[in-house]
């Protein structure tokens, strides 16, 4: 929300940025036009999509261009590139409030400007000003990159926390310090290479440098798309397999939602939540081998039929063992019918020996089994099912997991509507 506090902050940032630019222009030597135009061109083209570096984090390639401009032609050139970088046409057309656009330009210019000031202060010179040895500029360049990093993080955090009315420290944390920092180091190094190639006027060299990044960016984008589509791919195929038993349609999907909600409430890591989601989607694939008669039989099952059903966690685990990508879920699938008191199957392991994710999956699985209709009985109402969960906590299901689950079900209407 754009409050008056936000507007004052944006105004302050832009004023500081303007002052910074004036200061820098008094210190700068005349620069060559062509390299600057080239960098501006590159930046305008690549700003359509922030280039996500594979180490993690999404840092715009523009920083490399601005850094290169600073090293090659001086801080004012860097500012020019920064202005070009922050003027994103599609963003402007998207109708966001003016303050946001001004903030984007202002904070980038200010951050780059401060970096340039640090560079000059520590004795850095532009490559165009003559023969400059690497040892002369190493310290100033490092200081400049560090200054940019700190200034950028602080400005964006203040801006974001004012805008979204969150606490400052929380915003800072969510930025992902380490990934942003490491991306910045890589981009700074790239900028150094670009600056030197520009000073040699090695256009072919620049092409050779840029091509791999363009190629990697395309590949990485496909990688991201494929990774994001992986869960839905598994969903589609699992849905097809679940079509065997009409009573369990959508079961894995619901269990996945419940399990994810519990895991998030318990504060597990993103990667654990993802493993759990996949395990939940695939936990019952092993049932495919069980005959439909057994699955939907309204009567009590025979010894053989029970044995067939008890095999499904092992069968499911065997099926996914061959997928390297899914090796984290194998144990979770295998143990999802184990009980804390050791009375579960297939191995009868106890309490803490059961992987935590499997314990969560067991709770989610039981709950959905209770609340959905089956051939042999209708589904239980939610409150009754929650009572059942409480009843078996400590025996069949893990107490902590049940406590989290009950809290999630009571508080979060979204999860309840998942059914």
């Amino acid at each position: 929300m754009v409050t008056s506090r936000v507007r004052w902050f944006v105004f302050a940032v832009c004023m500081c940025a303007a002052l910074q630019v004036v200061y820098l222009s008094s210190k700068s030597s005349p620069a060559q036009v062509i390299p600057i135009l080239l960098l501006v061109g590159v930046v305008l083209v690549t700003e359509n999509l922030a280039f996500q570096l594979p180490i993690a984090g999404s840092v715009s390639l523009s920083f490399a261009a601005a850094f290169a401009a600073m090293l090659h032609s001086g801080p004012i050139a860097a500012v020019v590139v920064a202005i070009a970088a922050s003027t994103n046409l599609s963003e402007i057309r998207s109708g966001k409030p003016l303050s946001i656009h001004l903030f984007n330009v202002g904070q980038l210019v200010l951050s780059i400007g401060l970096a340039g000031t640090a560079y000059l202060a520590l004795g850095g010179r532009a490559l165009v000003s003559g023969a400059v040895a690497l040892s002369d500029i190493m310290l100033p360049a490092t200081a400049a990159a560090l200054t940019f990093y700190i200034a950028n993080v602080i400005l964006v955090s203040i801006g974001a926390s004012l805008l979204m009315q969150r606490r400052f420290l929380q915003t800072v944390q969510s930025l992902g310090f380490f990934s942003f920092g490491s991306s910045l180091v890589v981009l700074a190094l790239l900028g150094v290479l670009v600056a030197y190639l520009l000073s040699f006027q090695s256009w072919f060299g620049l092409l050779l440098l840029v091509l791999p990044f363009a190629s990697a960016r395309r590949t990485f984008r496909v990688y991201v798309e494929l990774t994001e589509a992986y869960s839905s791919t598994v969903r589609s195929l699992v849905t097809a397999i679940e079509a065997k038993d009409p009573y369990t349609r959508g079961h894995s999907e619901r269990v996945a939602k419940y399990a994810q909600a519990i895991a998030e409430h318990m504060g597990l890591s993103q990667s654990d939540v993802q493993v759990l989601e996949r395990a939940a989607l695939l936990h019952d694939v092993g049932k495919i081998g069980i005959s439909l008669d057994t699955l939907v039989s309204p009567e009590e099952l025979s010894e053989d039929e029970m044995r067939a059903i008890r095999r499904h966690p092992v069968l499911g685990a065997d099926l996914v063992t061959d997928v390297d990508f899914l090796h984290d879920i194998v144990d979770v699938v295998r143990c999802h019918h184990e009980r804390c008191d050791g009375g579960g199957y297939p191995d009868g392991i106890l309490g803490e020996d059961i992987p935590l994710l499997a314990r969560i999956l067991a709770a989610a699985d039981s709950f959905d089994a209770m609340t959905s209709d089956r051939a042999y009985r209708p589904g239980m109402p939610f409150d009754q099912a929650i009572g059942e969960l409480r009843r078996v906590a400590g025996k069949q299901l893990d107490e902590r997991v049940v406590a989290s689950f009950v809290k999630v079900l009571s508080d979060d209407a979204r999860v309840v509507r998942a059914s």
Binding site: L53, P54, I55, A133, L134, M138, V186, L189, L190, V192, L193, Y196, L197, F200, S202, W203, F204, G205, L208, L209, L211, P212, F213, S215, A216, T219, F220, V222, Y223, E225, L226, T227, A229, Y230, S232, T233, V234, S236, L237, V238, T239, A240, I241, A243, K244, P246, V285, I288, G289, L315, L319, V320, D322, V323, D324, F325, L326
Partner: protein, 390 residues
């Protein structure tokens, strides 16, 4: 292995000649250490190909070393790096992994030794103090030759170990690795171009950027492999519903890809044919016969339609039984014929199945049957399985 020994011998001859006739910079232990470290890191970040094998690419370091330093420094550094790598593999994966690593190390050492001949052509002065962009071109040429030698020796090694024929092996290597090689060559060129001003810092920076870019390709290959294995696992799961049919999808996929390859289908088409064959019966689940026979192609196509990774596979599944009725993609015909062959083989045996198909099919379908007949006769009813869909 005689092949590797002959490579080493040839390499040794070349290196011996080069060291005797070509001027090189004085031996500097620091450079050796730097090269060793670079090689070692490069070798540890291996790339996993879709076929499953792991490949190590240290092209960038090799090219830079060839252009800037002596062959002696280079070989010593590489040897030490390989030993480190083999030790690391042993700790990670035991004797078998170490043995694989050792075999590949020997080949790689031979390649570098053979490549040292470029030092007789490269003018060290022009490289170390370039006036313009000339050295860039030299690096590109050297890099291209390096790739050619590397890929060729690897393809031959795989062929001798019972893999695909050499020409096909080269294509199977270049498809995933082409971009990675390109990155290595380009970054080697840049590293050498900036070397006079940036020295070892420039080399280190270029190496770091190379490895980061390589990692992005590696992640891409890894997820593709994840998809391929997942789809195969779930296709296998789908079959458990019909115990008499176990293995049918896998057999049809192997046969269809092999037949399709012989019929000149493109690699893209072959990949789609493979997935279509694996998943062609997925639409049967939940249906009883004979409804399943009629409905399952459409239902299978619908299921697959929602999966972007499997774009283009839906039509193949939809038309696999009715390919002769109109303008279905030719891959559908291949899948259909192979599926019928596998089913008929159970009741009528291989010869009987082929007879029935020859009587039934016309036109393109007939050609497919001929190819099937050729393929299965290689090894009776058991096929020599080609490498999986890559």
């Amino acid at each position: 292995m005689p092949y590797l020994l002959s490579l080493i011998l040839a390499g040794g001859v070349v290196v011996g000649w080069v060291l005797g006739h070509v001027e090189r910079p004085p031996f500097d232990i620091l450079y050796v250490l730097g090269l060793t470290l670079s090689f070692a890191i490069g070798r540890m970040l291996s790339i996993q190909l879709p076929q499953g094998d792991r490949v190590q690419v240290t092209l960038m370091v090799g090219v830079v070393g060839l252009m800037l330093r002596g062959a002696d420094e280079l070989l010593i550094a590489f040897l030490v790096a390989c030993m480190i790598d083999v030790a690391y593999r042993y700790l990670q994966g035991g004797a078998h992994a170490a043995r694989q690593g050792a075999l590949d190390s020997i080949r790689s050492i031979a390649v570098i030794a053979l490549m040292s001949f470029v030092q007789s052509y490269v003018n060290p002065a022009s490289v170390r103090a370039p006036e313009g962009d000339g050295p860039l071109l030299s690096v590109l040429v050297v890099g291209a030759v390096f790739v050619a030698v590397d890929v060729l020796t690897l393809a031959v090694q795989q062929w001798l170990a019972g893999g695909a024929p050499i020409a096909e092996g080269i294509v199977l290597l270049l498809r995933p690795l082409g971009s990675v090689y390109m990155v290595h060559i380009a970054m080697a060129a840049v590293a050498i171009r900036v070397h006079p001003s940036l020295g070892s810092w420039g080399l280190g920076t270029a190496l770091l950027l190379t490895l980061i870019l390589q990692n992005s390709f590696n992640l891409y290959l890894r997820i593709r492999r994840g998809y391929a294995q997942t789809i195969e696992a779930l296709a296998h799961a789908a079959e458990l519903d019909r115990p008499d049919d176990t293995g049918h999808a896998r057999r049809v996929a192997d046969l269809a890809v092999s037949v399709g390859r012989q019929m000149g289908l493109t690699s893209d088409e072959l990949e789609k044919v493979g997935y279509a064959a694996l998943l062609h019966d997925i639409g049967r689940i939940g249906y009883e016969q004979p409804e399943a026979d009629i409905e399952h192609p459409d239902r299978g196509a619908e299921i697959v339609a929602g999966i972007p990774f499997l774009e283009g596979v839906g039509p193949l599944i939809r038309h696999h039984r009715t390919a002769h009725e109109g303008d279905a993609p030719r891959g559908a015909m291949v899948v259909g014929v192979c599926c019928r062959y596998d089913r008929l083989r159970k009741t009528h045996g291989s010869r009987g199945a082929l007879d029935i198909l020859l009587a039934d099919e016309r036109g393109y379908g007939r050609t497919v049957v001929d190819v099937v007949a050729r393929t299965v006769s290689i090894d009776g009813s058991r096929l020599v399985p080609p490498k999986s869909v890559s």
